[in-house]
Symmetry: C2
Subunit: 231 residues, 2 copies
DNA sequence: CTGCATCCGCCTCGATACTG
DNA sequence: CAGTATCGAGGCGGATGCAG
């Protein structure tokens, strides 16, 4: 029953894919990278995934100690699923894949699903560690109710859930616009002009944030900054 | 015909998996990360992969501009497949997955396949960029005829095919032993005792190389070094 | 011989229905 | 809410065919 198909290769990548390679598995991991989830939450955030497959995937991941289930009490109520230490170590690999896939994100289709909390992972994936500036500041993002921010300090940048204490920039937008900007199909400037994005904060902070995320602010960087400080 | 199954999610990871997520695809990418390959070479290095699937995967990857076909000569007879710029950008993601999967590498089974050139990718994945020392030197590896080395210079380490010009250490072993060491199931010291691994070079260089690859040389680091300088 | 295409049995996937 | 049971459609894997 637990015997699954294997690549039968004595190699790290093949072993990783023996665990993660089947359909939906890495998307389940993505969800759990943003915190523990209940069974029904996973089902509703991953449309197209059948309940039998979710059940089977979770069971398999638990067996392989990538995911664990946490009970509230000993009552047998299985409350939620969360990543183990091993599972959490997948973060760089998942972010790296997500970053690569950004350029394959097509224009949004009728049937496409978007979730606001995916923006968190998108931002984390977009952070260009080579372009972290010397300044220490935070940029806050509010995507359809989901709030998170980037903290830049000590030459490192990290994505954190929740609001920033004293953000140098605040961006408010919807999930679709967020992904379109991230995929390069829309510039922040263009999004602001159409009212899909609002930015608060200083010109310099906005430009540094765009730089950090590898975004061109718009047709002319200075033009974008000019708009930004008026909003 | 070319319409394939899609996750229908407006997200970088889902888009990446729409291209790479099907069975065998990432293993084909792994092969091509180590240079252009002919169709028949891919078939023989990926046992279990049917010829129809290989054909289909390659066609799909070419359509998505991850892989391109090149004629060896102008004859059009002998084709080889190689990664495009987009495909080459998968290197960090593949290495990251390979690194994660190392701990899932079980003891080698009867049915398991090993290829010497996989050692190259394994070494590249194991390099711990946080532990690159200040010294500039090279470590050479000879795995069943495949020769490659790590160059450490300017605080960076990179894996290179071919022999090193003036290696501070030379390791000779077989592919299975190589992977067993990489997965932590065997220490370099233990491998040397059983004659599966031979090391040449100074004590310090060997220890620095182990440090760089995140390996414990053996039960006692100094003991391993003691053996190393006698070989 | 290389580089595929075709055919076929089987297993996985995905949707729906059902149970505690 | 959290799964299990069932079943048709399609992807997978092996064998075979075939053209350059």
């Amino acid at each position: 029953m637990t015997t699954r198909r294997s690549y039968n290769q004595y190699c790290g990548l093949a072993s990783a894919l023996n665990v993660l390679g089947e359909r939906w598995t890495l998307l389940i991991i993505r969800e759990l990278l943003m915190g523990p989830r209940r069974y029904s939450e996973l089902l509703s955030d991953l449309p197209g995934l059948g309940t039998n497959l979710l059940s089977e995937r979770l069971k398999f991941l638990v067996e392989n100690e990538v995911v664990r289930q946490t009970d509230v009490q000993g009552t047998g109520f299985r409350l939620s699923y969360e990543l183990t230490e091993t599972g959490l170590r997948l973060r760089p690999a998942v972010l790296s894949l997500a970053r690569w896939g950004m350029e394959f994100v097509d224009e949004v289709a009728e049937t496409d699903v978007v979730r606001a909390h995916w923006g968190f992972l998108a931002v984390e994936a977009m952070i260009d560690t080579a372009r972290v500036g010397a300044v220490g500041e935070s940029y806050e993002f509010r995507v359809e109710g989901e709030i998170f921010h980037i903290d830049v300090a000590d030459g490192k940048a990290r994505a954190v859930k929740g609001p920033a204490s004293n953000p140098a920039m605040v961006a408010v937008t919807d999930a679709t616009t967020f992904v379109r900007i991230g995929s390069g199909r829309l510039t922040p400037l263009a999004a602001m002009v159409t009212g899909k994005l609002s930015l608060e904060g200083g010109i310099d902070a906005v430009l540094r944030c765009c730089e950090l995320l590898g975004l061109e602010a718009g047709p002319a960087q200075t033009a974008a900054a000019g708009v930004a400080h008026r909003v």
